[in-house]
């Protein structure tokens, strides 16, 4: 999974990325940093906060969630039962890179390798 995330590492505008479960447990992250735990925990809070109302409105299976902030953005893309979180600058178009990485991660998870690793953890 880390190899897949590393495809994002050289992308212009990308500051970091991680794959986590919906409740904030990190499966892989680039670069390794204690800050990742914080990002995962807060993104998980956002996902939980919208869960009920989004379901009522039919938005529960979302394609992408973007938080635009003064000094950058957080992009959340669901990948099977996990989510890919990317910290990026405010302007660079990352659609193609995200699609590629999410697709590869999805393929890997469908084959069951990630689930097996997470279960062992």
């Amino acid at each position: 999974m880390k190899d897949i995330l590393q495809r994002l590492e050289g992308c212009p505008g990308v500051r970091g990325a991680l794959v986590m479960t919906l409740d904030g447990v990190i499966a892989a992250a680039i670069p390794e940093s204690p800050e990742n735990e914080k990002v995962a925990a807060f993104v998980s809070t956002v996902l939980l906060s919208m869960e009920k109302d989004a379901e009522a409105l039919g938005f529960s299976s979302f394609k992408r969630l973007t938080l635009w902030a003064a000094r950058g953005r957080i992009i959340v893309v669901p990948v099977e039962k996990m989510v890919l979180v990317v910290l990026a600058d405010s302007s660079t178009d990352l659609s193609y890179a995200l699609m590629e990485v999410a697709g590869l991660a999805k393929g890997l998870m469908t084959r069951g390798r990630i689930t097996a690793t997470s279960d062992q953890d």
């Binding site: 807060f42 919208m50 938005f59 529960s60 635009w68 902030a69």
Partner: protein, 362 residues
């Protein structure tokens, strides 16, 4: 700078000074200051520009020379202070370094210098006050609970270390008032007044506290609330501002809805009340989603160091939701599945900024 050029400047300096004293003008001052800067006499250049600004308050030349001289002086001051603390670290040296760094808006260096000062000299009260000031500026920008806690701890420590100092407790009291902890603010001011009944600043602050509303004094709770709402506790004036903002946003809703091709578009004020262009409406799942998403996203971006939240976009097969935050209210739109979200944040940002309403009116 070559030797001959320097000698020429040195010789010219006195005549430039005399000429300026005889017939002060912005042009002569600019000429004199340039000469002083070339000679490396940044202190004198700064002094002259400060004087010049008083003489010619509307001169752009003097203003520009003042900025150049102040920056040169601060950079030189930082160099000297760095050299001093390297040779012999003293609290004064670190504080000088921080002060010059603040003058050129280098908050990172200033904070690092003050943190090192505190680490080496844990009883240096002024360093705690200065660091608390810097943290307070960051807190007022980001409203992060962690920064708020640090501001309080630093001011409290400064008060404890120097019981005679009035500035630290007054700044602490002002901070309590800013976050709405009025009782704590009042008791801190009263402690200052017990030591000095004449302290004018304390009397003014006490009057301000008496004129404010609020009884909540659980600081942790207040900091959490501020972080979630993304604004400091307000007063009547703030409520009026919120109403004005909501009414301005509501006027532009129809236009924004047409431009975005939105199913639904709403304004949600800071109290959680939803509004459309006709007036207040009842809360439902859409409003709940806007409010929850906005407050949790706000907390997230602040806490991960990305600063205040500007907006949120949620894309799904059933359509998209676009949220944009204003100062005291947010606008949320629900777009149809076939509508593109490209440019939607910018559109709502224009609505928040007031351009859309103005365009429609014109």
């Amino acid at each position: 700078m070559g030797f001959f050029a320097q000698t020429r400047d040195r010789l010219a300096l006195r005549s430039k000074q005399n000429a300026f004293r005889k017939r002060p003008s912005a042009e002569l001052l600019g000429d004199l200051v340039k000469c002083q800067l070339r000679l490396g006499d940044y202190e004198a250049a700064h002094r002259y520009t400060v004087w010049g600004r008083r003489l010619f308050p509307d001169s752009p030349v003097v203003d520009q020379m003042y900025r150049i001289a102040a920056r040169a002086r601060a950079e030189k001051g930082m160099q000297d202070a760095r050299r001093d603390v390297k040779a012999k670290p003293t609290p004064g040296g670190f504080q000088r370094l921080a002060q010059y760094a603040i003058e050129i808006s280098d908050g990172v260096t200033a904070m690092a210098a003050l943190r090192e000062c505190i680490q080496r000299f844990p009883t240096c009260a002024p360093a705690y006050t200065s660091l608390a000031d810097l943290c307070e500026r960051r807190y007022l920008r980001d409203l992060s609970r962690v920064d708020g806690r640090e501001v309080l701890q630093l001011y409290q420590k400064a008060c404890k270390l120097d019981a005679k100092d009035q500035q630290a407790p007054l700044r602490l009291a002002q901070f309590y008032v800013k976050i709405g902890a009025l009782e704590k603010g009042r008791s801190t001011v009263e402690e200052v007044l017990q030591r000095d009944r004449q302290c004018e600043e304390a009397h003014v602050l006490l009057q301000r506290i008496a004129a404010s509303d609020g009884s909540e004094d659980d600081v942790e709770d207040l900091l959490r609330q501020i972080e979630e709402e993304g604004r400091l506790p307000g007063n009547d004036q703030d409520t009026r501002r919120m109403r004005r903002e909501v009414s301005r946003l509501c006027r532009g809703l129809k236009g924004a809805q047409e431009e975005l091709g939105a199913n639904r578009i709403l304004v949600v004020d800071a109290d959680g009340q939803p509004w459309d262009d006709q007036g207040p409406v009842a809360s439902d799942a859409f409003v709940g989603l806007l409010a929850n998403l906005s407050s949790s996203a706000q907390m997230t971006t602040r806490r991960v160091g990305l600063g205040p939240l500007r907006g949120v976009t949620l894309e799904s097969g059933a359509g998209s939701i676009v949220v944009r935050r204003g100062t005291r209210a947010l606008v949320g739109a629900s777009l149809k599945p076939d509508e593109s979200i490209l440019g939607s944040q910018e559109r709502l940002s224009e609505l928040i900024g007031g351009q859309l309403a103005e365009q429609k009116q014109s």
